[in-house]
């Protein structure tokens, strides 16, 4: 698989992962990366280098909005929350990934591998 395709798949899955997480509750960057890592058993891993350009891009598109507030430890963190536009992106994105995996399953039997 070419580097470009890998990067596009990673980006697309990252968008879906972030939107899905933030649909549950507002989170700051480190928490987003941590929860994605934990909930995917480490299969999806975000570092500072991969997470923030994506968050800023999604913020620019109007899918997310961010504001500084204190976390439970009393430290200032920049929390991201979904906007109405971001919430609208979630359903079609989920549907596209479902279709993508179904197509891949039909081709390569990935669900049974």
């Amino acid at each position: 698989m070419s580097k470009r395709i890998r990067s596009q798949i990673a980006r697309g899955s990252g968008e879906l992962a972030i939107l899905s997480l933030l649909a549950e509750q507002p989170l700051y960057g480190f928490e987003i990366a941590k929860q994605i890592g934990e909930r995917t058993g480490g299969a999806l891993k975000f570092t500072l280098a991969s997470l923030y350009p994506l968050l800023y891009e999604m913020e620019k598109r109007g899918w997310l909005e961010a504001h500084w507030q204190q976390n439970q430890a009393g430290r200032d963190r920049r929390y991201y929350r979904l906007t109405a536009a971001g919430r609208r992106q979630l359903t079609p994105l989920r549907e596209e990934w479902r279709s993508f995996f179904q197509a891949l399953d039909a081709l390569a039997g990935v669900n049974h591998a």
């Binding site: 990366a33 923030y52 079609p92 596209e96």
Partner: protein
């Protein structure tokens, strides 16, 4: 405790770019969280520091990616790509189509209602869904929201509505308020705005919630 902000600033500003203090602070607190989490697992501080800085991987690439993601110019490009350009194409297409049919000598059909009449340019109206669809499709390809796609698809009707909104007060100011003038304006509104908008809508609606073609495979 390391000065995380200074570390981020040193690495990011080596690109010659001047980053917003909010970006520097956010990256710094992320590194701090990684460092503290790693230390809490019993990793020596020097290794935890290395691990935290590893998060940035190639800082030059990170700086470039963040610069691209936060640049105002790109934001303007996004608005241009998703709204203004598709709207202009829709408007241009609809205008050229109108001129084309007039050039061919296709005459509008007059639908009379007593003394008033609606001028229906059927050939042109039939062509409008194509331009509505084209605009909404182009707008959708640029990640535009459904509202923006709708505005793009209806751009020619919106422009007409604005033009009439400007013309009416002038007309009323010059000639005074006459019933016949208001009826004429109402018919003009139906003729120039409502009917074309309905035709454009036929082409626009299927593209309102349609995702970009490349998302099927890459979802990017």
């Amino acid at each position: 405790m390391p000065d995380w902000k200074q570390m981020v600033r040193d690495r990011m500003n080596s690109m010659g770019a001047d980053f917003d203090e909010s970006v520097v602070s956010e990256l710094a607190v992320h590194l701090e969280d990684v460092y503290e989490t790693t230390c809490s697992r019993g990793v020596p501080e020097i290794l935890a520091l290395e691990q935290a800085l590893e998060e940035g991987k190639d800082w030059r690439i990170l700086a470039r990616n963040i610069q691209r993601a936060t640049s105002k110019e790109d934001r303007m490009n996004y608005r241009t790509k998703s709204l203004w350009l598709p709207a202009l194409i829709t408007l241009l297409g609809a205008s050229v189509s109108l001129v084309f049919f007039q050039y061919l000598g296709v005459r509008p059909h007059l639908e009379r209602f007593g003394n008033a009449a609606l001028s229906l340019d059927w050939a042109w109206l039939v062509s409008l869904p194509i331009f509505g669809a084209l605009g909404a499709h182009l707008s959708g390809r640029a990640h535009a929201s459904a509202t923006a796609r709708l505005a793009v698809g209806l751009a020619p009707a919106i422009v007409m509505l604005i033009a009439m909104g400007v013309i009416l007060p002038w007309g009323l100011a010059i000639d005074g308020i006459h019933f016949i003038r208001l009826v004429g304006f109402g018919l003009g509104l139906i003729n120039g705005v409502v009917i074309p908008a309905l035709a454009l809508l036929v082409g626009t609606v299927p593209f309102l919630y349609k995702s970009r073609p490349d998302q099927k495979t890459t979802a990017s």
